[in-house]
């Protein structure tokens, strides 16, 4: 056994390399696909219909819009990936889907936003310098993480541990119950304390600023290409979390214990590993990531309500399954692919179908791919039937 004090550089670089590869790969594949489609449809009624309204050819339109779509797709993809890690960690260790994870995400979002709203009322946010604004955001992130992590551990202790010996369906149903319970608890607490349903992320710092990368000519007008500061924060934070988690699981003693419990719980406990503690730890890590994702989500999309966790949770769960549930790298890949696919479909569907099927149908693509993957590769894109999980 190598001395664990030595920093394992390889495990630090590997996930970042993987993220880059997945991002570029899915962006490349989808862009190529869309461009081919655009070229084929250019001379048909679809192209003429677009030319009529936008005064450009379909291929030009697609090409000009592509960079922005890739940026948007990546941003939401990283959010999904960060939530998906929580599902996949728990599945890897316990082989059970923690449906309450979407509410743990929501609690993280609420704690972070409520903290910032409180700070806003004291006037601190408005007068904050740029450095302080980032400090407050970090504080909100940490508080959201702490609350969500503590909640995840509590939920495991109260609702899952007593059922550990039961049939596999039992904790699943318990998880769905916890999910509903938490939704209504948030609603109740918000109703009693603030009396409001919508909570709005305060505007402060430079997070809403948009960094312009240029303008692309499109017919009579130009299309701005840019990325907002908050999207950069979301992506950076997600990359850091993913890299940190990967390092923890693959290059530390603690990670080794987690992997051991995932492989064989009974044998792990014979080797002197405190299984209950490791499982709690797994929930804690999943909760921390979920909570941070919640605050990031609120930062990016402004408005949250007690049911805010439902759709991102469902999408992230899909991402985890798509990538191969139980597999960390798979969750990253799944999240990025799903986010990209959704954004591509949403952006181009309306144009390619002459407005007959607009962006409202974007989820069809995401979930069709899920079905195809499950039919032809039930273990997911990166999953393996046997061997090490988590």
């Amino acid at each position: 056994m190598p001395p664990f004090a030595a920093v394992n550089i390889r495990e630090l670089i590997r996930p970042i390399g993987q993220l880059l590869l997945f991002s570029l790969g899915s962006a490349g594949v989808l862009s190529a696909l869309v461009l081919v489609l655009a070229l084929i449809l250019d001379q048909t009624a679809v192209g003429l219909h677009l030319h009529d309204r936008y005064n450009v050819s379909l291929a030009t339109y697609t090409l000009v819009n592509l960079p922005q779509v890739v940026i948007d797709g990546l941003t939401i993809g990283f959010v999904y990936a960060a939530i998906a890690l929580g599902y996949t960690m728990v599945y890897g260790v316990l082989e059970f889907i923690n449906f309450a994870h979407s509410e743990i995400f929501a609690v993280g979002a609420f704690v972070g936003v409520e903290l910032l709203i409180a700070l806003d009322h004291t006037g601190l946010l408005r007068s904050a310098s740029l450095g302080m604004a980032y400090a407050y955001l970090t504080l909100a992130l940490l508080m959201g993480m702490a609350a969500a992590g503590a909640l995840a551990v509590t939920v495991e202790r109260v609702a899952y541990r007593p059922l550990r010996g039961a049939a596999r369906l039992v904790p699943l149903i318990s998880a769905i119950g916890v999910s509903f319970l938490l939704q209504d608890v948030i609603r109740l607490v918000e109703g009693l304390t603030t009396g409001q349903f919508n909570r709005i992320m305060p505007t402060f710092g430079n997070f809403d600023r948009r960094i312009m990368l240029g303008r692309l000519a499109l017919g009579d007008t130009t299309v701005p290409l840019g990325i907002s500061v908050k999207s950069i924060i979301v992506i950076t934070a997600a990359v850091l979390m993913l890299a940190g988690l990967n390092y923890l699981v693959n290059a530390t003693r603690m990670g080794k214990a987690i992997r051991a419990v995932a492989q064989d719980r009974a044998t792990a406990s014979l080797m002197g590993i405190n299984v209950n503690r490791i499982i709690s730890l797994t929930f804690l890590i999943g909760g921390l990531l979920g909570g941070a994702a919640g605050v990031l989500y609120a930062l990016k999309f402004t408005r949250i309500d007690p049911f805010v966790g439902f759709f991102p949770g469902l999408k992230a769960f899909t991402a985890a399954v798509l990538g191969g549930i139980g597999n960390l790298t798979g969750a990253l890949l799944g999240g990025i692919v799903l986010g990209m696919l959704e954004t591509f479909a949403g952006s181009f569907l309306g144009v390619f179908t002459m407005g007959a099927a607009g962006s409202e149908y974007k989820d069809i693509f995401a979930f069709s791919i899920l079905i195809l993957v499950l039919v032809f590769r039930p273990q997911g894109l990166m999953g393996r039937h046997v061997g090490q999980k988590a």
């Binding site: 948009r210 299309v223 408005r303 949403g346 607009g358």
Partner: protein, 400 residues
Amino acid sequence: MPKTTLSLCSLLAAAGMTLILSLHAAAAEPVKSIKIASQSPLSGDQSAVGVDIKRGAELALEQVGKPLADMGFKVELAPFDDQANPDTGVANAKRIVSDPAILAVVAHFNSGVHIPSSEVYHSSGLANVSPGTTNPKVTTRGYAEVNRVVGRDDVQGVVGADFAASRGVKSVFIIHDKTAYGQGIAEFFKKRAEEKGMKVLGFEGTEEKANFDALLSPVIAGNPGLVYFGGIYPQGAVLFRQARERGYQGMFMSDDGFDSSDAAKIAGQALLDGAGTYYSTVSGPASVYAGAAKFIQDFKAKYNADPQPFAAQGYDAMAICLKAIEQAAKAKKGEVPTRAEVTQAIRAIKDFAGITGTFSFNEIGDPTMAQYFVLNVKSADPAHWNENSVVETLNLAPPK
């Protein structure tokens, strides 16, 4: 899944409430007890407006319920929460019609909820006055029970499109929320915009509430003079904010569903930037109505907040129900009138002086003359929402 739990919870709550109310009525009342129900979204993301509709009705009962009290009636308000959800609205409606003490219902805020729920009122002959639903179908089914105190979307959409044309808008991207109300008004807007020679770059429906990035790609690429949203503020305000963040500088326009101070809370400065934000509405800010000054004062005194839009309409809808019941009771020499008699009495009302106008209903339940406004958002501060300026006021009769 969450909607199911929601409706289940509300069903239980409603059941409990009715039980308590009926027990209470049985224990304490000698005779002549009357109830008027209300339905509006009291919880959920549209509760800011829904709660104030209920409060408006409550205030009306307090202030203009005296003639009935003098005749020996005890009138109570039975508020129900439809959660802006058609299923919940219909379930509540079934509870409402099964309570014989309820003689009229002030409901709803959402056309998509009102249309199916009013089928229930209609089949039980229960009189219904709506404070804020604007889809034409609410009244064009010709039900004797269903009335409203506001205008219609086939006029409101046209008013919006005419206003946009008068501001020199040449191209528009239209987005709606896929509800009966939002899609309905967006279609009327689109039809009129095309007639006025505007180029419609896109017409999209969406249920998305957070991430509009994908939807905005064709909007930004087309750079239309106007982005029109048919729907309610929790979606519309987020959409407008994200469009501004992506560099759109044109004009925003929406409908009366946008009219809530929460819209400014969500979108803030984004509403004022670029060419600004306008919305058409059938309910002007309470301050534009000559008769509503006292209402605003009393409302503030009682609830410690400015009334949201449609609160004054909630007041009027309730006042009309009370008046009709009073006249029906007088005709019966002080006995409790039947639902059919109340239904007839509402249509028989002529030139009722409410706080938001003078009301008479035509043969399908539309007010014979309705007011339409176009407002311009003036402040990013939600506390100043009531100061949005009225840029256009029109008095129009419902289309034949």
